[in-house]
């Protein structure tokens, strides 16, 4: 049941990434806004990798869990955008 729970949240993340792609496809300004958002997410992602120990203490989770979250976040973004762009 835990696997189903995590899988559903992963799918929700993928769909949210596709939704971002859809928003970007609506208007050039929306595209820029989404690009800015993606850039912000990328910077936050990179900083999270650099400050993983501090962040894990702040969020009260283990470093391994934080790293798993970061990797799965990247995977969700890539899959969601990939699905949107390929269709």
């Amino acid at each position: 049941m835990r696997v189903i729970h995590l899988t559903n949240y992963f799918v929700a993340g993928c769909i949210a990434s596709s939704f971002l792609g859809w928003v970007a496809s609506l208007h050039p300004m929306a595209f820029r806004a989404v690009l800015c958002l993606l850039a912000t997410i990328a910077i936050a992602w990179g900083l999270s990798w650099l400050l993983d120990f501090s962040l894990s203490k702040l969020l009260k989770i283990s470093v391994a869990d934080l790293q798993a979250l970061l990797i799965s976040g990247l995977a969700m973004l890539l899959i969601g955008l990939g699905v949107f762009l390929c269709t």
Binding site: M1, R2, I4, H5, L6, T7, N8, Y9, V11, A12, C14, I15, A16, S18, F19, W22, S25, L26, V83, F84, T87
Partner: protein, 196 residues
């Protein structure tokens, strides 16, 4: 709950992929449909995730309950085994203690039997000696004192009572007791005098 979970999961995937791939792009409402279906897909996926999380937590609680019940049962079995072992040990100790008591009683009975046999032998040898043997130490001492009085020439009953028992003639209880005792000892005194 499980059916709802699986339906929501499947519909989220369908709502995510179908409008993106199968929808006719020449339609005017193409983008709007895509947006609606993606929003619905997100909602379905999040709801399915929440349901699955609840079920997972419930499963964990059930597992903890089952483990607690198992631990309780094991603990109860161990306790009952310990109690029965203690009871058996106590019973065994009681049986051993009873055996020891019986041994002691037997030993006491044997000693009484031996002394009775000895007395019986003595009585068969000399019946007079048995009577002296039955007197107490105090009575023997009193006999000795009376004999000494007789040797000194004191022969009156009242004088002897005064010398030996320390009581004067009268109607006191002590005098009467001393007199009764003196009369009881008289045959033995006579026997001693005749024998000595």
């Amino acid at each position: 709950m499980h059916l709802k979970l699986f339906v929501l999961s499947a519909s989220s995937v369908v709502l995510w992929l179908t409008p993106l791939s199968a929808l006719d792009k020449t339609l005017g409402i193409h983008k709007a449909l895509q947006g609606v279906s993606l929003t619905a897909a997100i909602a379905c996926a999040v709801t399915a995730g929440n349901i699955a999380r609840e079920l997972s937590e419930q499963g964990e609680i059930e597992e903890i309950k089952a483990r607690a019940i198992t631990a309780d049962v094991v603990d109860e079995i161990a306790t009952s085994a310990y109690i029965s072992q203690q009871q058996r040990q106590q019973e065994a100790e009681q049986i051993l203690a009873t055996d020891e008591e019986i041994d002691e009683q037997e030993a006491e009975l044997n000693s009484i039997k031996e002394s009775l046999e000895l007395l019986l032998n003595q009585s068969s040898n000399d019946s007079g000696e048995l009577a002296v043997v039955n007197l107490s130490t105090r009575q023997r001492e009193q006999i000795e004192l009376i004999l000494q009085c007789h040797a000194k020439g004191i022969s009156g009953k009242n004088k002897i009572l005064k010398e030996v028992w320390g009581v004067s003639a009268g109607s006191s209880q002590a005098y009467r007791n001393a007199k009764a005792e003196y009369e009881y000892l008289m045959p033995f005194i006579k026997e001693e005098e005749e024998g000595g």
